[in-house]
């Protein structure tokens, strides 16, 4: 029902035909054609300046059965869409700081602000938002929450659901809705923050987020250990995790370690543990790890520790690869990544790992490979999500998997309640929602 031509896109609906240009004119919103990766995400990119414009847009889209979805950098949406949505709502012009209360350790910002911009603001007061997905500088806060993204520090600080204390979004009927507030402890009303976190734009457009923030760590050190076998690597990681408090704890496959630039450890599995605290604490933890580990322990001081941490945090798939994320009970993680036989970065204490498989083969083979790894995760009472892939594979892979029937029925009801017209990023979330 959507076809591209020179003057924009005609959106044929039973009601009437409207063009993107008309919608742009009626809502007063700036629009532009998608560029780069966005082309797989949306036919046109709208750039609202305030929530009211988004509300108008939603009402029009509901009336004319036009699909829309929020886009940050466009990576997640391009991966999950088999077909682009008609309108991608970029929050680039809604990227302002709304309120920052350093003494209360809370911050409110519009969803288009990037994590990079936010962290700069917070760092001036020696605070940070302790969420660390790959290349955070380019991740918008809307994408961070909408896709529930996290990184190594999830071990100690949790994921967006643990830090998001308030949310505003534009929902069906153009309703401007908020949940939570600006205080760190709050149980008034239903937890709309949890509902919106990880909902991938399928329930509405997040316009503003409120986080609790944390003090920057006093001292950061990285402890790195190389092992010849996966058993020794995970075994030592487990022992360390049970003995001392850590900020993060990763196990990298030899291939992943090489890509991160851990060249001295060539051919080995690498355990990378982050430690924080005052001098006495970091010294103590490093010494304890040294006692526990059978292999030699390398303790990186601040500058090199930060550099190596960033390299490890930013590890993503190479061109021509597919990135998968599995989540299983932590004790099953080693077994699952072993069985998958792919390069990986494992958040060993959290039971979450990113795996990288080659996309340089026929689509059918790729699908079989993903299915096989998903079966391994499901067998371990977990699940798998495709987090990134080359554009040619859109529609070939099941991105999310499907929960059991009872849960799926509830999710269908939730989707229907929040998106009765079926316009918010439809058809590409769990179970085809």
């Amino acid at each position: 029902m959507e076809t591209s031509h020179e003057s924009g896109i005609d959106l044929d609906t039973p009601a009437k035909t409207v063009t993107i240009d008309e919608i742009s004119r009626v809502t007063g919103m700036r629009q532009r054609p998608p560029v780069g990766i966005e082309t797989g995400a949306a036919h046109a990119i709208f750039e609202p300046e305030n929530a009211e414009q988004i509300a108008d847009l939603i009402r029009l889209c509901e009336e004319h059965a036009i699909t829309l979805a929020p886009v940050g950098a466009g990576r997640t949406l391009a991966t999950m869409r088999a077909e682009p949505v008609a309108i991608g709502v970029s929050m680039a012009r809604m990227a302002a700081l709304v309120a920052y209360e350093p003494d209360d350790m809370t911050v409110v910002a519009e969803a288009g602000m990037t994590m990079g911009a936010l962290q700069d603001l917070l760092a001036a007061r020696r605070q940070h938002l302790p969420l660390d997905p790959p290349q955070p500088a380019t991740v918008t806060l809307g994408a961070l929450v909408g896709a529930g993204r996290s990184g190594p520090c999830r071990l100690s600080e949790g994921t967006p659901r643990d830090l998001l204390i308030g949310v505003r979004f534009a929902g069906h009927g153009g309703r401007l809705v908020h949940g939570g507030g600006r205080v760190v402890k709050n149980v008034a009303g239903y937890d709309l923050m949890k509902v919106m976190t990880g909902s991938f734009g399928t329930l509405g457009i997040i316009t503003e987020v409120t986080f609790r923030v944390r003090p920057l760590p006093e001292r950061y050190r990285m402890v790195r250990i190389a092992f010849g076998t996966i058993d020794d690597a995970f075994g030592t990681a487990r022992q360390i995790n049970n003995s001392v408090p850590l900020i993060h704890l990763e196990v990298l496959s030899p291939g992943a370690a090489a890509r991160v630039g851990y060249s001295a450890q060539a051919g080995n599995y690498v355990v990378s543990a982050g430690i924080c605290g005052n001098r006495a604490e970091t010294d103590y933890i490093a010494a304890r790890i040294d006692e526990i580990s059978a292999a030699p322990v390398e303790v990186l001081q601040l500058a090199s520790a930060l550099k190596e941490y960033r390299a490890m945090r930013d590890l993503v798939h190479a061109p021509g690869e597919i990135a998968l994320q599995i989540a299983v009970p932590p004790s099953a993680l080693e077994r699952c990544v072993s069985a998958a036989g792919a390069d990986f970065r494992a958040h060993a204490g959290s039971g979450v790992a990113q795996l990288f498989i080659s996309a340089d083969r026929p689509a059918e083979e790729i699908r079989d490979a993903v299915d096989q790894i998903r079966a391994i995760a499901v067998e371990a009472r977990g699940h798998l999500r495709v987090t990134s892939m080359p554009s040619g594979l859109s529609g070939v892979l099941d991105i999310f998997g499907t929960p059991n029937a009872g849960v799926m029925a509830l999710m269908r009801r939730l989707k229907l309640a929040f998106d009765p017209a079926g316009i918010f990023n439809p058809g590409s979330f769990v179970g085809g929602l």
Binding site: R175, N186, R413
Partner: protein
């Protein structure tokens, strides 16, 4: 079962017989005299009795009970231990109460994954006790943790003193078995830290019993910190105590807990427990630092210096576990101690941004004066979560009225300062009328829609959380004894 005794009940005799068959006659309470115990929770200002109480033993029984109620279109209210403080399990047009207290087994403990699976009637503290020997604990620790159940904690998203560092219930629940109001059993979330699809567990936690009956929960266990130090700082001025809290946080220190008690509470606690608090102090702070033993001394020294700089007159560091426990006993039983000061008291629960604590305390003092009431304060200072305790005598009609109005004024003051209506007790029956202070009609519509995802016919704990159009619940609830 004596049918005549139930003559004035709204429950059809055929339904009562079915329920009795499902759970056994000994698991049904129907005599008015026995039901009296269940006419309120910790929010004692309002009372309402169910017509029938069911005490199921298994998930299958819960499911069968809900299916029977569904066939008859009868509403129900879930109840754990009844320690809630907002009337969450007060039956409002819900003839049947379903109490999970007999479902109290710890099903499995998985140290390798730091998980425990429990039935919802398990007492909060029993979870920590079960895993203590292995060096773990379940961190949400409401003051009622010796009695309150995990099911109640999940429903109310309970907190406690140690949530400043460790988070509230929702941060520690990975999965839940839920029996939907139509009797269907669903398993939400599960064994992993990432959600597949929508975060239904997150939506369920804090839904205040309006989504059905939680029968099981998978909880995260936390490693016991290697060491703890607890400090008691005594202040002649309340403002100095609140400044100390801000100074500690500003220094980048996140203590396990920072609790504050004001003079009225200090005197009550001292009279009850004799832990050596000076009766003329304006405020005390209890500050607990935990973590590696090797770093504790330095950090506690820093906290002590900050407290001194902010004007603490006397600073005592607990020398051993016994002294530490004595300090915490005073804090956790403060509510009980207050029982010595007046025949009745209502515990309020509001939140302000931490930096506005001095403002809200001034407001509360002014409100107490305005309504000629005594109001004590014991609260979680680290996260701005206040618990004003309003003293009253339920035999004095006018004083009850003033107590309720004072409570509402305190909540309004919290909202005006940028805060919220409840930090950990829930909206329940108590605060529905205040919801429009912080939520717009659109917010409330969307929340109702979320609620109906789980409970399309609104039969699970009806008339709670979201105010119904037409104003206060008091006028619309024939089953409810008027609060005044």
């Amino acid at each position: 079962m004596d049918r005549n005794a139930m003559a004035d009940s709204s429950i059809p005799a055929s339904l009562a017989a079915q329920l009795s068959e499902i759970v056994g006659e000994e698991a049904i309470v129907w005599r008015r005299s026995e039901l009296k115990v269940y006419d309120c929770d910790g929010w004692t200002v309002e009372k309402s009795m169910p017509d029938l109480l069911v005490l199921p033993h298994t998930t299958a029984e819960v499911s069968a009970v809900l299916k029977a109620l569904d066939r008859h279109g009868v509403a129900f209210v879930p109840r754990g231990a009844g320690t809630g403080l907002s009337g969450g399990c007060l039956p409002l047009n819900a003839p049947v109460m379903i109490c999970t207290s007999r479902m109290n087994r710890i099903l499995s403990i998985d140290y390798g994954n730091r998980r425990v699976e429990v039935e919802s009637g398990v007492v909060n503290l029993h979870v920590s006790n079960a895993v203590k020997a292995q060096g773990y604990f379940y961190s949400p620790d409401p003051s009622s943790q010796m009695a309150c159940t995990i099911g109640g904690n999940v429903s109310e998203n309970s907190g406690g003193p140690h949530t400043l560092k460790y988070g509230v219930t929702t941060n520690h629940v990975l999965g839940a078995e839920l029996v939907l109001p139509d009797g269907e059993i669903v398993n939400l979330g599960g064994a992993t830290e990432e959600r597949l699809g929508y975060d239904l567990v997150g939506a369920l936690v804090g839904a205040e019993g309006t989504a059905g009956i939680v029968t099981r929960a998978t909880l995260k266990l936390t490693r016991e910190p290697e060491g703890r130090q607890t400090l008691l700082a005594i202040f002649a001025d309340v403002a100095d105590a609140t400044r100390t809290v801000s100074a500690i946080i500003a220094a980048g220190i996140i203590p396990g807990a920072i609790e504050m008690m004001d003079n009225l509470i200090i005197r009550a606690v001292e009279e009850a427990f004799h832990i050596g608090l000076p009766p003329d102090a304006a405020a005390v702070l209890i500050i607990e630092i935990d973590g590696l033993s090797v770093g504790l001394g330095d950090r506690m020294g820093q906290v002590g210096r900050l407290a001194s700089e902010c004007g603490a007159g006397d600073i005592r560091v607990a020398r051993d576990d016994k002294e530490r426990e004595a300090i915490w006993k005073g804090r956790k039983r403060a509510f009980g101690a207050v029982g010595r000061l007046a025949p009745n008291y209502a515990t309020q629960d509001g939140v302000v941004p931490r930096t506005r604590l001095p403002d809200i305390l001034r407001e509360i003092a002014a409100i107490a004066e305005r309504y000629r009431l005594r109001i004590g304060n014991v609260f979680h200072a680290g996260d701005g979560n206040i618990h004003p305790i309003v003293l009253y005598d339920e035999r004095d009609y006018d004083e009850v009225r003033r107590a309720i109005e004072a409570g509402r004024d305190i909540l309004k003051a919290c909202v005006d300062l940028g805060g919220s209506l409840t930090g950990e007790h829930g909206i329940g029956a108590e605060k529905m009328a205040e919801m429009p202070l912080i939520f717009s009609p659109d917010d409330l519509i969307v929340m109702s829609e979320l609620r109906r995802v789980f409970d399309p016919n609104q039969r699970s704990n009806p008339n709670k959380v979201i105010p119904t159009p037409g104003g206060c619940v008091e006028v619309s609830q024939p089953h409810r004894q008027a609060p005044l």
